[in-house]
């Protein structure tokens, strides 16, 4: 009965997800190959009014207008590269999701690796130090004797 209910629920939710997909596909009005290029380029560009989303993710008026403009420019013969350059010229490097490599973005690109390096260095020195500590304190005769005694005692108990 439970399984049947679940199945029924799943079937009910199917048309819903269909609708959602249909809505997302309305993004552009162009020919299929232009549509693909528009979506490709707009995935690389930031939606400036809904920062965190790309132009292709967003249905804000800004993003819709931008996609329309990108499509128009592509239909006018501009290459993907030229479209991105056009946007960077007006909105700055910030519109690109993959910022270009230059002096002001060095930290952005290498920061994580530097942090990783620092982490590895700290871990390495810590491990080395600990190993040294272990070497420096060998067991005394007395401790050896007690350890042996304890071992004997417990193995005897286990057998019993």
């Amino acid at each position: 009965m439970k399984k049947f209910m679940l199945l029924a629920l799943l079937c009910l939710s199917l048309p819903l997800s269909y609708q959602v997909q249909a809505k997302e596909a309305e993004y552009t009005t162009g020919a299929p190959e232009i549509h693909g290029r528009v979506m490709g380029v707009s995935e690389e560009l930031r939606c400036l009014v809904c920062q965190g989303q790309s132009l292709s993710d967003s249905n804000s008026e800004f993003a819709v207008d931008m996609r329309a403009q990108i499509q128009e420019m592509m239909e006018g013969g501009m290459s993907d590269r030229q479209v991105v350059d056009f946007m960077v010229e007006r909105y700055g490097d910030y519109v690109r999701y993959r910022p270009p490599f230059k002096a002001s973005t060095v930290l952005l690109w290498f920061g994580p690796f530097i942090l990783l390096g620092v982490g590895v260095a700290v871990l390495y020195t810590n491990v080395l130090r600990r190993r040294k500590q272990i070497d420096e304190t060998p067991l005394t005769e007395e401790q050896h004797r007690r350890a042996a005694e304890l071992l004997k005692q417990y193995s005897g108990e286990n057998k019993a």
């Binding site: 400036l48 009014v49 920062q51 800004f62 207008d65 931008m66 403009q69 960077v88 010229e89 007006r90 909105y91 700055g92 490097d93 910030y94």
Partner: protein
């Protein structure tokens, strides 16, 4: 390593410093690459006299403000009194770029609230807006005598921003 116990404190201070700085940054403030570059050309019909054109070059030789606005824009209402006051002072001409707006709505808006603009250009399709890197309305540009953008203000202009940033810049540019 006598001061090792201070390490967490140092890390805390550094992180607090970054976070404090982060609090005062405005994420909507996207640095415009257009500052210091010639203002993009445009030729649009005037809002009130549709048959007449207005272009960037009609202002060459003057320091002027370009204010992007629309009747549908709520924050434009907020900055509107500031521009009304500025236009009464008569210190600098304010040109409006009416952005993605219906002509009748825009004209009615100016009739209702007052018109601070020398001329408003009607950018119905928003294409000139894109050339100027407009992504939120209102936005305001300070443009010098050579037609170069010297400052961009994103969001409503407050009386303080006008007094402390825009007007001093305008006065300095007028001298030059």
């Amino acid at each position: 390593m006598k001061f090792k116990f201070l390490l967490p404190l140092v890390i805390f201070v550094v992180m607090a410093g970054f976070l404090w700085k982060g609090l005062s940054l405005n994420p909507n403030d996207v640095p415009s690459p257009l500052v210091g570059k010639p203002a993009p050309q445009f030729e649009l019909s005037q809002l009130h006299q549709a048959e007449q054109a207005v272009s960037r070059d009609s202002n060459l030789g003057k320091v002027w403000l370009l204010n992007v606005w629309a009747s549908w824009c709520v924050s434009c209402r907020q900055e509107h009194p500031v521009f009304m006051q500025l236009s009464r002072m008569g210190e600098v001409p304010i040109y409006g770029l009416n952005y993605k707006d219906e002509r009748e709505d825009a004209i009615k808006w100016l009739k209702d609230f007052g018109n601070p603009y020398t001329i408003s250009a009607h950018d119905y399709k928003g294409r000139v807006g894109v050339d100027y890197g407009v992504y939120g309305v209102p936005e305001t540009y300070v443009i010098d005598k050579q037609g170069v953008i010297r400052h961009k203000h994103t969001g409503p202009v407050s009386a303080q921003a006008l007094r402390e940033t825009i007007l001093p810049l305008v006065r300095e540019l007028k001298k030059g």
